[in-house]
Symmetry: D2
Subunit: 348 residues, 4 copies
């Protein structure tokens, strides 16, 4: 059994980790910390866990109890994990951070986008970016995994086959739509039901924090051909009146008319347990992956033109957060990658 600790389990990402880990057959959930809920039963906050999990939140002096864990997940706001991670690593505890603290390899870029200095920049090179479809081997050996953002997960999985083949020349447009749970569980007028329901909007058009992460990911994709992508990336996120789900619509200029894209995608992901290339002509719906760790992708080339359109869906809280974290844990501890991630999506 892997002894697991969670720091900050009161948000949606934490709740989803709890859901997945509470039924994971190889995990012993040892400790979960929360400053605000210390002393309360987890199932008081999340009654959906009644009868599934007997655990109380403990005050957040992490390094006492957490140092006995094999693995600690951080489901905290940006900037929190970096305060505690160095000490935990020294205590030989492995770490998966679901926030952004270790996603960017460049401390200056981090400071620029997250508006605070990084407290352990020396760890940025050592941290492994936890997208298994790109970095499986490195994850297996990692002490510290930076779990990718939700938008970057969808975008990178959708772009990977095209970029690797050097097929894209020009500007990539990433028009992404997310459910509201992506905005977190903090009290906030902007995500009240009566503000968000029956409405749709773009946000952060001039620059969202996931943009540098996506750019870095594209730049680091292994190339099968000699032609790296050098174009611009435009990323516009939108808020959709639903709880879960990301739908990324990717527009890529592709000049090559002869490549069989359907084939390329199917081959690229043939051995991936969580990436499903849909039949040609499909239109994935975010509900097809609600609660599941799958990423489902469809490839279109409208009117046989020069713009390839990739439709890519994930559940932002699963493959876009907690599920991918569990997948990373499975890889780090030599388990079957699908262990504990076998749920079938609710339909409807």
């Amino acid at each position: 059994m892997i002894k697991v600790g969670i720091v900050g389990g009161t948000g949606y990402t934490g709740a989803e980790l709890l859901r997945l880990l509470s039924t994971h057959p190889d995990v012993e959930l040892c400790t979960i910390t929360s400053r605000s809920q210390a002393g309360y039963a987890v199932s008081d906050l999340f009654p959906s866990l009644r009868g599934k999990l007997e655990l109380c939140f403990s005050a957040s002096e992490p390094n006492r109890q957490l140092s006995f864990c094999d693995l600690v997940f951080f489901a905290t706001p940006n900037g929190v994990a970096m305060q505690s991670v160095p000490e935990l690593l020294q205590a030989n505890v492995r770490v998966i951070d679901l926030a952004a603290d270790f996603r960017l390899r460049d401390a200056n870029l981090w400071r620029q986008w997250y508006q605070q200095g990084h407290t352990c920049p020396e760890l940025l090179q050592q941290a492994v970016y936890g997208l298994p479809e790109m970095n499986r081997q490195a994850i297996a050996n990692a002490r510290l995994v930076a779990n990718p953002g939700c938008y970057p997960t969808a975008a990178q999985l959708g772009l990977l086959p095209l970029i690797r083949q050097g097929l894209v020349s020009g500007t990539i447009i990433i028009d992404a739509k997310s459910g509201v749970s992506g905005a977190g569980r903090s009290a906030c007028v902007d995500t009240l039901f009566s503000e968000v329901s029956e409405s749709f909007k773009a946000y952060s058009v001039n620059g969202h924090r996931h943009l540098p992460e996506i750019r870095q990911g594209i730049a680091r994709m292994p190339l099968s051909s000699a032609k790296p992508f050098t174009g611009e990336v435009v990323f516009v996120p939108h808020l959709t009146p639903m709880v879960r789900g990301i739908h990324a619509t990717l527009y890529c200029p592709v000049e090559d008319d002869n490549v069989d894209l359907q084939d390329l995608y199917q081959n690229t992901f043939a051995d991936e347990p969580f990436v499903d290339v849909l039949p040609a002509g499909s239109h994935p719906e975010t509900r097809f992956v609600r609660g599941g760790n799958q990423c489902r992708i469809a490839i279109h080339r409208p009117q046989d033109g020069n713009t390839v359109v990739i439709l890519c869906i994930i559940d932002n809280l699963v493959k876009g957060a907690a599920g991918q974290a569990v997948q990373n844990m499975n890889i780090m501890f030599g388990l079957d990658e699908m262990r504990g991630l076998n749920d079938v999506t609710l339909m409807p």
Copy 2:
């Protein structure tokens, strides 16, 4: 492995059965029939099952293939199962009908409420009403189980402790609210998104088909005391703009001031794996059981008056349909009752 067949797997109840059975460790899903979808892969209709279930719909000549099954579920419209069930029973196949064909024990009552004659009234006495919390022993020995309706499941579980103790005198009000999936998956203007979203309504106020089922259930509840309930039952169902969930608000006149209702409910359901009595003062939310087979109940006595208010929630497609059917199967085949029903509810 239990060899299982499903008749009529294209509605929401069928889809939910498929979700639950596809991961049930003791079930081999052998055949699923559908007139309209014969020849198509199940996962074409329900892409959420891609990679989880390799099975095609077959044409509905049930008794050929189905007679090799140990158990057949009917997830068909009312009046269909009764055409095939007698033959299957003779072939020694056990049957769980998720429709209403065998729920009422009185063929005349059935004709009155379902507007068609019953084709095998002789089976009505033999069929066991599949509410485990009332009939567990009979279910274990049953050849034919009538799976309860969604509203009757919530109403009866909420009323059982009070009725058994003979505590209710007067009129019981059942004000029930259901998600839209309860109305099924047929093309229909009334359940279009644009008709139902952002609106709330009552329906069938003058008489819903679940009313005689509830009345029959109350009349057949085992009594711990000498005083059977003789009052009226008023049942008003409402349509709520959500997909899943039933919230039954039950109003019961109770004259006894001394009974500890919280205690009564906790004791009654102490050994029930799927009934959870919430702490005093709780307000259950239907999302607490979304996708799960639990029924969660809270007991209130507002202002210490004579009206006891029971709040009772289930997922209409799980405990109110497919989950309860799987629970019944587990009981019929001597399995752990929770087998295959361990999913933790999605939150949010």
Copy 3:
């Protein structure tokens, strides 16, 4: 032109007042105060008003600017209006309070339910309860109108004909369902989209502040017959995943079998501009009044039993708040009661 001021225009009730008053042909909107938004244009906060209203929020020193108004609406939290109203009345300004400060006539009852002492109890007898269908004449002459709560509006309109005729004996059950906008526009986890969407719950079962208001309203209904209602009133509010709308389902024990209830309701409300009795057998949907000031009512007597079921819908922000306030203003200033309230409901 009536010179109008609004105190506290940043919540949903305030926004709705702004919508209605900005197109009212007899109103000049002179001043609107808000501590938090002072200096900002109203249409910055509510872009739906761009081009319709050129007005900025001013700091909340109300009695300076407000004393020049003919009428001031308070759309503030409970307990705010009572601080300023006495001075405004002395300055000969008329007041409509949309909060609860002047709804209860008994200062002790107010203290008990609102957990604070009343600062001007002497005004409680003078204030007129602004339900036009009960108090039209008194409203016409009022200096201070207490605009009713949303639930009490629906409940009282639905009960009025039965109570007036002395037809109800026993316990009245009010099972009411509200959209989320009724919970206001404050930042709060409980009303986040991801908490409320796809879920349904009861709340405040043991006692909601609208209960004493409903009881007082029933007690003060004029009687056509000699038999006042002496039974209990049970009121259970529920939260529904929609923005606007209240659906009250009222259960009333009625022993008289001969009364023509449809006729009674139609006669009672024959001259009411905003109460619409639907044809017998109807099931009103809250969307039928979304954005409108109507109350629509249907009367049922299920299975010809002793329990009469009244279905009563309003838009909680219109007839349940701002629309009724405008209706009261029209009455106070001798205008046609429907003035400025002629919008047709959006469908869908």
Copy 4:
């Protein structure tokens, strides 16, 4: 008073026309036809119109009653209007078709995209495309107006200023998101609440019927400069779980760094009563125009790159259908263009 007839008033577009025309001060609604509802009161089908409109549906022998009208709106499925329009025009009745029959000027293109031959191709050149912001003068003189599609309205208004200045070189991406009412009111599994709620998808990626309409519109935009747009247009529509609203996100490659886009848009639309250019940096939400005839636009140039992003919102049933039809009527009959279109959007 303009004598108005409506053919086909039972869908959402027809319902919206009824809402707008029932309160239009210069319109006398004379006749409304529907095959399926003949003889029934309009307010039986749409109870939101009770008390606002006393009219029954008549059987659809249009040309008898309709020939006495000044103007007939067709709110029928594609291919219906073209059967009756020639006769009505000969009877000196003016026509606004809300379907697609007269939107494309090329009969072959029409046949290709709508899969049926056109029965009066000679009228295609005579019909005026009813986008007032492009064709106001021609509309004023028109006998037959082709009311634009919902997506093309949003797309063309968003693109007009850039195209007119010849600023776009390369491929235009139109990523558009629509509420479900755009799919109409026909019984259909795909738009059931339980299929659409809590999910998001793209559709018709390989070619939607609005694509040729958008291309034609761009090609016919008047040019201020010498450089017509010659690039590709990619259009991907998406279905959003809300009833009303279109959000078009337009991506345009613009090489000119010196043009002040905010200024350009504000100038272009300075005199337009229904186009509102939001302050720089804004993110319009579809609810800002729910029920209103406004189009609100925001202009972004993310990271000062070469891709300009235009965010453009309308209510698909108002500016995208019935509201624009009423606007066209106002222009055709010399009325104030805003007549009958002054409603303020519901918020929330």
